[in-house]
């Protein structure tokens, strides 16, 4: 892959436009007590691309995602977002900045309907105050209607219209994953983080999910960063791949480049570490 400037973009073979760097991780180190989960890792995410973070189990991929979304605070290193260094933030503040995420073991609001779940994704775009909401006048009402329209579009797009009113707790696993994606997408995020979107799915569901991820990227131009340990799926989906093993970065580049990388092959084939 050619070397690119941070602000430069390029056009992919299938004609998608990849922009400049939207997020950059600089020398991130994360420790839990004495255990080093992430060791001095740097990489960037470009606007409009599908960026994958792969690695065997326990490589520190989920920890990295949690650093990006603000759930973990790294001991060392900096997170740069849209050209600015991000100060220490709470997860909800990160979310309001436009970084939406899904969870590996699905975190939905089980008691609420699919529609309500997806509506919560719009919270960062709803700015009317508590008082206005309490008396349901003026901005609050207009805002609800406007956001509802956007949510309906996403629901249509992800083909979950038929379950709009169903409480999420009653849905099967694959559909729950899709609702979670819908909720994250409803935020119209600058970066969409997917934590193992295919985990625990059968082949058919995996294909569906792959298609949705590609369609989302294509249709809305959403920047996506996803984690997977299944290499096959990732190679077909992503523009660029970061490979982690034992908390360290062992590869970074296009799927083709990564596949040739000896360290990556070793990690996946399980060559003994010295």
């Amino acid at each position: 892959m050619m070397a690119l400037d941070a602000t430069e973009g390029y056009t992919t073979e299938d004609g998608r436009r990849i922009g400049g760097v939207v997020m950059e991780m600089r020398n991130i180190t994360l420790r839990f007590g004495g255990v080093v989960a992430i060791k001095d890792i740097s990489f960037d995410i470009r606007e409009g691309e599908i960026r994958a973070i792969i690695g065997p189990n326990g490589a520190g991929k989920s920890s990295m995602l949690n650093v990006i979304s603000g759930f973990y605070k790294p001991q060392e290193g900096e997170v740069w977002y849209k050209g600015e260094k991000r100060p220490s933030m709470k997860p909800y503040q990160v979310a309001r900045q436009g970084i939406a995420r899904t969870f590996q073991n699905i975190a939905l609001f089980d008691g609420m309907s699919v529609l309500d779940n997806v509506m919560t994704g719009r919270i960062r775009h709803m700015t009317s105050g508590l008082l206005s909401q309490a008396i349901w006048k003026g901005r609050a009402e207009a805002e609800e209607v406007e956001n509802r329209a956007k949510v309906e579009r996403i629901i249509d797009f992800l083909e979950i219209q038929h379950i709009r009113k169903t409480p999420v707790g009653r849905l099967p696993y694959g559909l729950k994953k899709r609702v979670e994606l819908a909720r994250a997408l409803a935020a119209e995020p600058s970066i969409l983080l997917l934590d193992e979107p295919m985990a625990g799915m059968n082949v058919e569901e995996k294909e569906d999910m792959s298609r949705f991820i590609l369609d989302v990227n294509d249709e809305f131009g959403t920047t996506i960063a996803l984690i997977e340990h299944d290499m096959g799926v990732v190679m077909d989906l992503s523009d660029r791949v970061v490979v982690m093993d034992y908390g360290k970065k062992i590869g970074d580049g296009s799927p083709g480049e990564v596949r040739q990388n000896q360290a990556v092959i070793d990690a996946y084939l399980g060559v003994a570490h010295d």
Partner: protein, 328 residues
């Protein structure tokens, strides 16, 4: 119609009115339990504290007067002004929001992720603290609370029932007012929870903290909001009970009556709290009326708990509680 039946109807109506007050207290419990999983034992004391504050503000009492007088050797008790009821209610609401903030800032912020039993113990501590704090702040004497609600027998009902049954029902105007207030409050709360952004955020936090954070909901904000709402409900309950029997420290004991209401209605259901309260209210009055004379009376003291026990055995999730469904 035989006299017994007519009297029974009157008892039924009175029970309904008492039930409304139980519902109000139970409602405060449900709000906090739903949003944070905390069983707030101090809900009853919050009602007492709200009522004390309301009376104090209305009468222009100097807060902490006794403490100030002891330390500085002064002798002040009143500012010398009075505040109209509506203004005092608004000011008390501000105090309840401040209390909600303080409770989160000094207690529950430090207990995030702890076992429910620890959170429960913290609320017991809070209950006793708040009782003492209210005592120091406003004094422990029994106070009259009159916010201008209608009181005394409702003449219209008395007359109408006299013409129909030949016996005039005694229904207190205050009870009718309490019912109206409770109904309005409940409808407002349900609409708020169901159809507004903050209500949705509240339900979201109740379901999953991580997920709520990931869509940009501040847990702290929601918790303060919920405790404030519970504070407003406590204020409403405090006004009703206070107007009925004076603001005194036994007011905090109504929290105990709310427990069986919750067993019946389910800990997580707003409609459940209402219906549960009504059933307990009507149930204990009717039981006293029908069975009381046979067993020597005073059944009101234990009937509610007996009923709750039966529910625990046969329907642990209550009438409206969320049935525990788990996909395997």
């Amino acid at each position: 119609m035989p006299d017994q039946v007519v009297w029974g109807m009157e008892v039924f109506l009175n029970g309904l009115m008492t039930g409304v007050l139980y519902s109000l207290v139970a409602l405060g419990f449900v709000l906090i339990f739903k949003a944070s999983g905390i069983f707030n034992f101090s809900q009853g004391v919050m009602a007492l504290f709200a009522a004390l504050t309301l009376v104090g503000i209305m009468d222009g009492q100097v807060p902490f007067a006794h403490l100030i007088n002891t330390i500085f050797g002064t002798d002040i008790h009143y500012f010398g002004w009075t505040v109209p009821a509506l203004g005092a209610i608004l000011l008390t609401m501000v105090v309840m929001v401040a209390l909600a903030w303080a409770v989160n800032q000094f207690i529950f912020r430090h207990l995030v992720g702890q076992e429910p039993i620890i959170l429960f113990m913290a609320t017991i501590g809070l209950a006793y603290f708040l009782e003492g704090f209210g005592d120091i702040m406003w004094g422990s004497d029994i106070k009259n609370l009159d916010v201008g609600l209608p009181q005394g027998i409702n003449e219209t009902i008395d007359e109408v029932t006299y013409q129909v049954f030949g016996y005039g029902f005694f229904i207190d105007n205050l009870d009718i007012a309490a019912t109206v207030v409770a109904v309005v409050l409940v409808i407002a709360l349900v609409l708020f929870a169901q159809y507004t952004k903050y209500g949705r955020a509240m339900r979201a936090v109740a379901d999953d903290h991580q997920a709520a954070l990931s869509v940009g909901i501040s847990l702290k904000f929601i918790w303060i909001m919920v405790w404030s709402l519970a504070g407003f409900v406590a204020l409403a309950a405090g006004i009703m009970w206070g107007a009925k029997s004076g603001v005194q420290f036994s007011l905090s004991l109504i929290a105990l009556k709310a427990l069986p209401v919750l067993m019946l209605g389910g800990f997580t259901s707003i409609p459940g709290a209402i219906v549960g309260g009504l059933i307990i209210g009507v149930g204990e009055k009717m039981f006293e009326f029908l069975v009381g004379p046979m067993v020597g009376g005073a059944t009101e003291n234990w009937f509610a708990y007996m009923l709750a026990l039966l529910f625990l055995v046969f329907r642990p999730q209550g009438l409206f509680g969320e049935k525990i469904i788990e996909r395997v």
